[in-house]
Symmetry: C2
Subunit: 220 residues, 2 copies
């Protein structure tokens, strides 16, 4: 596990935490548990998901994940995720952080770098360039990557699968590789969590990392 | 009028012509007339519009131009146009050009640079960076900008107006400025057409410029 080289952000601004990783790692469940845990520590937390989280974003999420009659190329796919994220940042994340609230997001920019860049084949520099324009360079204070081997993930992903989950095992192997590679290249603090163990242990790992990295003390 | 510093593209590939300019200049009508004129010269032409032109793009066009209940920030707006364009390039423009067909597009990348960049305030370098990623650097062989003063344009735009047309006169003034500025900065050939005269004269100007710039000879 990597120790992020970060100091806690100024106390007036909220903390921005993103969960990411291959499908089937239990991100959504763990994001909800982390939000509850933070609230139990007296923190004011906004939970969101990316793509989605706004009326525009929810429409784009539907366009992206439904197995639809219309085709979506790799560049259009990446740009739709980015459009949803741009709206999420403007409408939800920045206002919440500015008001001193924490934000826990189920995925963020890292997913595009990995899925459309590393696994899909778009030049990483292009994805990063678009990402900077979409977010106005707002990066999480901490990104937690819940890692699971593709075989474990595959067995866990619910059916019917969405358009992305339905891609072949080879694609999902490259996705995992991309997340592992990001540990060395991601420009903001990132920590790997073992998602192959039981849910309570995963939740405890997440809480420890958040506590350690962001300087959140014990329950008040 | 600027003479584009271009030589005709290799004869096997089709010609890519974009029409652009402020709303109310008659672009859509003129694009249709130009397509007919080119076909009358024996050219095989695909007509498209941007945003739109694909099943995904038409859905995005609706999201962008309807005066809707959900809000769309400037960054999300720019990225949605780019997503529609990326799909148009992949699904329509590149295959047509590769098959030796011409493409006439009602708007293209220049519109984003002007509307969201120059008029909207997004950094131009960001819009260009995203544009390169969206199009894979495919630029028109010729962009024809039909120019009209905002007051003339304003009187011409049909009611009810869409979400973009409904913006204040000051915004539309900056849009026009942006198109005029592009004559000096656009990285591919661009020609200004006076759109304030009657339709037949505008059509004749467009035909002359296409003939001159792209080396299309008289009717076979």
């Amino acid at each position: 596990m990597t120790t992020p080289a970060t100091s806690p952000p100024p106390s007036k601004r909220g903390l921005f935490i993103a969960l990411d990783g291959p499908d089937g790692g239990g991100k959504t469940t763990q994001a909800a548990r982390l939000v509850e845990w933070l609230r139990g520590r007296g923190r004011d937390v906004v939970a969101c998901r990316d793509p989605g989280g706004t009326p525009l974003g929810d429409r784009l999420r539907f366009l992206l994940l439904e197995r639809s009659a219309w085709s979506i190329g790799l560049r259009a796919e990446m740009l739709l995720y980015m459009a949803s994220r741009a709206q999420l940042v403007d409408e939800v994340v920045r206002p919440a952080l500015a008001a001193g609230r924490d934000v826990v997001s189920d995925r963020y920019l890292l997913a595009n770098v990995v899925y459309q860049g590393h696994a899909g084949g778009l030049p990483l520099e292009e994805v990063w360039g678009v990402g900077r324009a979409a977010t106005g360079e707002l990066m999480p204070d901490l990104t937690l990557v819940i890692d699971v081997p593709p075989e474990v993930a595959s067995a866990r992903v619910a059916r019917p699968r969405d358009r992305i989950e339905d891609r072949p095992l080879e694609y999902r192997r490259r996705v995992r590789e991309g997340f592992l590679l990001a540990l060395e290249t991601y420009p903001s603090p990132i920590v790997l969590i073992d998602g192959s163990v039981d849910r309570d242990t995963v939740a405890a790992q997440l809480q420890n990392e958040v506590q350690r990295a962001l300087g959140i003390g014990p329950r008040p």
